[in-house]
Symmetry: C6
Subunit: 76 residues, 6 copies
Amino acid sequence: MADTWLTSLITETPQQGFELAITLSRRGVKYTQPDAEVLHKLRPEYANSHEALTAASQVVAINFQTVAAANNYWRK
Amino acid sequence: MADTWLTSLITETPQQGFELAITLSRRGVKYTQPDAEVLHKLRPEYANSHEALTAASQVVAINFQTVAAANNYWRK
Amino acid sequence: MADTWLTSLITETPQQGFELAITLSRRGVKYTQPDAEVLHKLRPEYANSHEALTAASQVVAINFQTVAAANNYWRK
Amino acid sequence: MADTWLTSLITETPQQGFELAITLSRRGVKYTQPDAEVLHKLRPEYANSHEALTAASQVVAINFQTVAAANNYWRK
Amino acid sequence: MADTWLTSLITETPQQGFELAITLSRRGVKYTQPDAEVLHKLRPEYANSHEALTAASQVVAINFQTVAAANNYWRK
Amino acid sequence: MADTWLTSLITETPQQGFELAITLSRRGVKYTQPDAEVLHKLRPEYANSHEALTAASQVVAINFQTVAAANNYWRK
């Protein structure tokens, strides 16, 4: 992957941090399967399985730990 | 998701922090499957499977780690 | 859930902390499936499956990390 | 469980810490299924499944993180 | 494995850190299965399974926590 | 297990730390199933399953977090 997609873990708000965690989770998938068409074909099966949705939410939670720590939890 | 749903990780009590962890876990699902009707249809299967319930509890536990750290564990 | 069940993460001993971690793990389940009868029906299947028991122990381990950190690991 | 089994997370050596992590992992199972006979019956199936053994090792790894942090990683 | 493949966890950018996390995740596989041909044969099945891709992304997320902490989250 | 196999978490290089994480992961298995012959018999099935290899890599990643923290991430 030659493109630059991650230059900082710092975000303004926790919600933006959560959305960055989602990006990280998706990128983790893309590095293993870069073919967008394959990913597109897997989607319906994926998005209709509660196991898959919970597993996805778990990866987001792990990445959110990283982003939240990076931002000192957006404490004021 | 255009709405603002997460402006702070700080809560008054550990229980509110735990409930925020539940919100984070559900949002992690919603970002992957935003269609509320699909989520509603998955629910009976989901809520009657012990594997699913344990998996859900695990995601909550991971998010609670983040929220608890953000709040310095509500130490007095 | 209107009742107050979590007012502090601080416990006197590590064992009480471990037991709090178990409470947190069960509450993570209850927030998804609040119907005690359903949970009761799932129990026999659950408590006789080694996969389920290991998965439960994993959630407890994650919650125990949080409780132990909150208590500075009960260092004297 | 009325007995006292965990009075400290501090151990003299990392190996004792690892063994404490194993105890914590087993206790996490026992709190859900206290019947020793049931656990004994599950054992052969359990100890001959690579999925189960890896899952067990993962719970130990999570508990070892806690014990190692409690001991400041046994740094001299 | 006699070759030297990991001399530092420090990277210049978060993206390089994420890519190091991917390397760590792959090396974790290779230590268990060093035969490149076997890994190559497993790939098609692997890269077309959403469960496998999410599981891979989870391992990357865990390794990224380590790399990000090592780099103090690339805070300026 | 009477033998001494873990006297320190400190390693000279991150790669040695990663290899220690692999040792910890294997020991986590051995404490549950000490019979080397059984482990040997499980190996072919194990080393040819992508699910098993990813699961193994995940345990290594968790143990590597511990070892890396113990070594202050080998920062110079």
